[in-house]
């Protein structure tokens, strides 16, 4: 016997109440002066004994009632091996329904999730009346749809029936922890967790912790004990192909230019797959198609897909393979913004006497890598000026400004550059022999917080050809250089740098928004609030670990700085094949500064900085696959001084369209599934057996009768109801006796 509200037993002290009332009442009487005492005396003597007995009976009943009431409120419960005559005790249950993407695997008739929902409904139906149920949708997060167990089981049933499937990855541990936490605060003799999942291996990556936690919960005594029922809905899907990545190889998406996308297709199955048709769709229309001859089990193939974007603005570019039983990973979409042209202003700090000697000679050719006659049509337009012309230049006529070996900057120029960058412009800084490091550090560094790093001491000797630094050879984390993780794209490492400035990365400014890290395999950015959004970052390092390239965001724009020169004075980068892609990708990053975050992983937050015009405007977000009438209204809020539109209900993969009525704007962003979810391999049998030690495990089959199964496991009863009935009976008896005893006799 245990008590679910043991402290309520102190209520038994209430039995003192009738005794005290009795004693107090004996002191509260009416005094009547009376003549006919002899008759009263005789009558009292005759009735004394009877009245005393009656009083004692009533007092005993009242005390007993209160004691029992305290007992009932303390909710005594007993685990027994048989069903109680009063029926099953109430259950506090948490239903964890796996709604990760892998639950979308279909057997041709219904998906795993359809089955899971039915099982979850059965679990609700199997709860004894008076029970309460909470519902958690488990993916890589625990989404508490019904946070506190509700007694409204119809609500729980409806919630389960209408639960949406997400495109998120799986991690069951947070959900199990949440469920245990929810149950911990409940007082019930019986606590149960129903975990309905497909047993995908990826979801059990914290299996050890799960086992430990569940075992601890199971081994608890009394009301802390939690029983877990695990229903595995799996149908050994042996084949699965998925588009595991899609990136735009060229960093920029200029209008009417051939764009190269890299689609990565992975075979998660156990058999080799042949002749896989990979198609590229732009805004839903087929643009390119490539056939991969074969992919071995567990293998990955990347294919280039080419297309052109015909109109300016946002496009959704989808790579698709033929549908299989797991449709969620058969396509992957990017949101790409087509741009008409990019105007680059190059400020040449050392023009030299002839073009070849100019600081920006290589830069100009790398930015416009086409013959002179085609340069007119090329999307990158460059203009070159000298530092002396800086004063009369309107930066807003350009998208990016490149400072190449410019000695120092006037205050006006620095102010102009700051507001240019803050409005969304890009600034690229190359040092050189003329550069006045102290001036830069104070003008752009400490005064305006524009530099990602300060210029330190120059090191190395440009004349000394034997001694040089190379770039890092692997681990290219930054999106600009992530391309070179793939050896087929060439190498950066061959570059030799003879002389360079030491770059000292600056700490993040406190007013920076959010943060971002990147996923090198998919090129998808993922926001992370813990790291500052605009924190200065190293893009590329030298082999000795010092920084070769660094960047930081500022306002809507971005600043990138190099440690060495733009020409071949201090290094040979400018004559390496990697120079052009590096420069273009950098330019792409600078230009698409405010398009970044347009491609996020499922579940990640989409955040977009906007200009002040948009502050407090309402944005309608339309999720992929959502009915036309289910539009989400979000308001552009001020975050750290910048208007930001954020959206984090990115449960479904695909294109999200954001429209703002005034000024009329449409923004698109794409949400991409986690490739880890495509791997449908299941928890090994011996692990399932091990789980059987801490939970009742049942594999789904079409005839599964959950109720019968759980009722066998569910024994024991609470006794507050019979006690309460007894209290009510005593109350009735007391009323009757009190009336009967005090009737006129």
């Amino acid at each position: 016997m245990s008590f679910l509200n043991p402290f309520m037993l102190f209520g038994a002290g209430a039995i003192a109440v009738p005794i005290v009332i009795h004693l107090l009442n004996r002191r509260r009487f009416q005094r009547v002066v009376w003549a006919a005492m002899r008759f009263v005396k005789v009558s009292t003597e005759k009735n004394q004994r009877r009245m005393l007995v009656e009083d004692m009976i009533l007092l005993a009943i009242r005390c007993l009632m209160l004691a029992l009431l305290a007992l009932a409120v303390a909710r005594p419960a007993m685990r027994s091996s048989s069903h109680d005559v009063f029926g099953q005790s109430k259950v506090s249950a948490v239903i964890i329904l796996d709604n990760s993407a892998s639950m979308g695997v279909s057997d041709g008739v219904q998906t795993r999730f359809d089955k899971a929902r039915k099982v979850a409904e059965q679990a609700v139906d199997a709860l004894p009346s008076g029970s309460a149920a909470a519902v958690i949708l488990a993916s890589d997060i625990a989404k508490e749809v019904i946070k506190e167990p509700t007694h409204d089981l119809n609500l729980a049933r409806k919630t389960v029936r209408e639960a949406p499937l997400s495109d998120r990855a799986t991690d069951l541990f947070p959900s199990i922890e949440k469920a245990l936490e929810t149950l911990k605060n409940r007082s019930a003799i019986r606590k149960e967790i129903y975990l309905i999942t497909d047993g995908q291996l990826a979801g059990w990556r914290q299996l050890g912790d799960i086992q430990k936690t569940l075992k601890k919960a199971k081994d608890q005594t009394g009301e802390q004990q939690v029983a877990t029922h695990l229903v595995l809905i799996s149908d050994a899907e042996e084949r699965n192909l998925g588009v595991s990545g899609l990136v735009l190889s060229s960093g920029l998406a200029p209008l009417n230019r051939p764009l190269r996308f890299e689609a990565q297709v992975a075979n998660y199955g156990k058999q080799e797959v042949k002749d896989i048709k990979v198609s590229l769709l732009v805004d839903g229309t087929s643009a390119d198609e490539v056939v991969i001859p074969s992919i071995p089990p567990g293998g990955t193939r990347s294919v280039p897909l080419n297309t052109k974007l015909r109109t300016e603005g946002w496009h959704n570019v989808t790579a698709r393979i033929p549908a299989d039983r797991f449709p969620s990973d058969d396509s992957r979409t990017l949101a790409v913004r087509a741009i008409r042209e990019i105007r680059v202003l190059m400020v040449d700090g050392e023009p030299g006497n002839e073009p070849r000697e100019a600081e920006t000679f290589f830069l100009g050719h790398a930015l416009v890598p086409v013959p002179a006659e085609e340069a007119e049509k090329y999307y990158v337009k460059t203009s070159t000026i000298t530092p002396a012309d800086l004063g009369g230049t309107r930066f807003d006529d350009f998208d990016t400004v490149v400072l190449a070996n410019v000695a120092d900057l006037s205050n006006d120029t620095a102010n102009g550059l700051e507001s240019f960058v803050k409005r969304g412009g890009g600034l690229l800084i190359f040092p050189g022999a003329k550069l006045n490091a102290a001036s830069y550090n104070s003008q752009l560094g400490s005064a305006r917080k524009m530099l990602p790093a300060t210029f330190g001491e120059p090191r190395g000797d440009a004349g000394q050809e034997e001694k040089f630094l190379t770039f890092q050879t692997k681990g290219y984390d930054h999106p600009i250089v992530a391309l070179w993780n793939d050896a087929s794209a060439g190498t950066l490492a061959s570059t030799r740098t003879f002389r360079s400035f030491e770059l000292n990365l600056l700490p993040a400014a406190p007013d920076d928004l959010g943060g971002k890290s990147s996923n090198p395999t998919t090129g998808v950015t993922q926001t992370n609030k813990a790291v500052s959004f605009a924190a200065p970052k190293a893009i590329l390092r030298y082999s000795d670990g010092s920084i070769a390239m660094a960047e930081r965001a500022l306002g809507l724009g971005r600043v990138v700085m190099f440690a060495s020169t733009a020409d071949t004075a201090w290094n040979d980068l400018a004559v390496r094949p990697a120079f052009v892609p590096l420069l273009h990708r950098t330019l792409g990053t600078l230009i698409q500064r405010h398009d970044e975050g347009a491609n996020v992983r499922v579940g990640a937050q989409f955040a977009r900085r906007l200009t002040a015009d948009f502050l407090h405007k309402d944005a309608i977000v339309m999720a992929p696959g959502a009915a036309a009438n289910t539009r989400d209204l979000h308001r552009v809020e001020l975050v750290n001084g910048t208007p930001v539109l954020s959206y984090d209900a990115t449960d479904k993969a695909g294109i999200y369209e954001v429209s703002i009525a005034d000024p009329p704007t449409v923004i698109k962003f794409a949400v991409q599934p986690d490739p880890s979810e495509s791997n449908l391999s299941e928890l090994p049998v011996d692990e399932v057996t091990a789980l059987g030690q801490v939970a009742a495990v049942q594999r789904w089959n079409p005839t599964l009768n959950l109720r019968e199964w759980v009722e066998k496991a569910r024994v024991g009863a609470e006794y507050w109801l019979p006690i309460l009935i007894l209290v009510l009976a005593l109350a009735a008896l007391e009323t009757f006796l009190a009336q009967y005893f005090s009737r006129a006799k």
């Binding site: 009442n25 004996r26 509260r28 009487f29 009416q30 005094r31 009547v32 002066v33 009376w34 003549a35 006919a36 005492m37 002899r38 008759f39 009263v40 005396k41 005789v42 009558s43 009292t44 005759k46 009735n47 009245m51 005893f741 005090s742 009737r743 006129a744 006799k745």
Partner: protein, 301 residues
């Protein structure tokens, strides 16, 4: 004597001390007289004793004409006394008479009754003796038929305050010894005493030749015992306080009371004593006229 004359005859001091009593008595008596001119007490006074020879100066009204006609002798009819009839009014003045639930006590009611009876009796020139007692005689007015007697009676009654417990039996025995002449003993009491001793006293009175009338006064609360809740009864006489729930012992109490009353009633009947149970909630004139009417009826027969 009419009411106006009586009012002028009453001493102002006595009136002021026993104003309520006197007024009540008068009112009630008048009420009675208005409907019933022929007082039943009238009969008591014609109590013939003996003849004696006429002597000059005797009132010719008392000459026995029948004897004169038969024997030609002058005889005067002689009565017992100046008054033939003495009413001894015994009013219980013990503490138990202090009880009253209707705004007045049993004693007050008894005083009114005594005053009314005194008035009535004196009004017809019969003599009245008043004895207010508890465990012994507290106040006593020797018999008299004078008009001043009513004032004395009223002031005595008005001035009396009870202090002690009762002992009716002993008092009745005393009275029986004192009353030499046959008269009428009117006992006004709640009789809260040993019923056997009371009956013995009554028997003693009856043995002495007195007619006995018992007015048994009981308060309506005593008769009905309608109390609720927890009540402590504070005894007016020696019995210690009792804490009880009266509604639970009511039946038993009423049975006890009835047993007591029936003992008294049957004892009275056995001794040819008029037993008049009086609920003090009843208007006095009703009680009085009821009883007097009953008495008239029985006397005429």
């Amino acid at each position: 004597m009419d009411a106006a004359t009586l009012a002028t005859l009453l001493d102002p001091v006595a009136i002021s001390r026993a104003e309520s009593l006197g007024m009540h008595a008068r009112y009630l008596v008048e009420g009675y007289m208005a409907g019933e001119h022929k007082s039943p007490y009238h009969g008591f006074a014609i109590e013939f004793a003996q003849h004696r020879e006429y002597a000059p100066g005797d009132d010719l009204r008392y000459l026995d004409w029948k004897v004169l006609g038969r024997t030609d002798r002058y005889y005067i009819k002689q009565f017992e006394q100046e008054t033939n009839f003495v009413a001894h009014i015994l009013l219980d003045g013990s503490e138990s008479m202090k009880y009253g639930s209707a705004g007045y006590t049993k004693l007050a009611y008894g005083k009114m009754l005594a005053a009314c009876l005194s008035y009535l009796i004196l009004h017809q020139r019969d003599a009245v003796a008043l004895d207010i007692f508890d465990n012994e005689t507290r106040e006593y007015l020797p018999r008299s038929n004078s008009h001043a007697m009513i004032h004395k009676v009223l002031s005595k009654l008005a001035a009396f305050e009870p202090t002690r417990q009762t002992n009716i039996g002993a008092i009745l025995h005393d009275m029986a010894r004192q009353i030499r002449r046959r008269g009428i003993a009117i006992i006004i009491s709640d009789l809260f005493d040993d019923e056997e001793k009371i009956m013995e006293g009554i028997q003693h009175l009856r043995f002495g030749g007195s007619e006995v009338v018992v007015f048994h006064l009981l308060d309506p609360a005593e008769l009905e015992f309608k109390f609720n809740g927890l009540i402590e009864f504070v005894g007016l006489e020696a019995i210690p306080n009792i804490l009880t729930r009266p509604q639970e012992i009511r039946a038993s109490y009423l049975a006890e009371l009835e047993r007591f009353r029936s003992t008294i009633r049957s004892g009275c009947e056995k001794n040819h004593v008029h037993f008049v149970p009086v609920n003090t909630a009843q208007p006095l004139h009703e009680v009085l006229s009821g009883y007097l009417a009953f008495r008239l009826k029985t006397s005429v027969k």
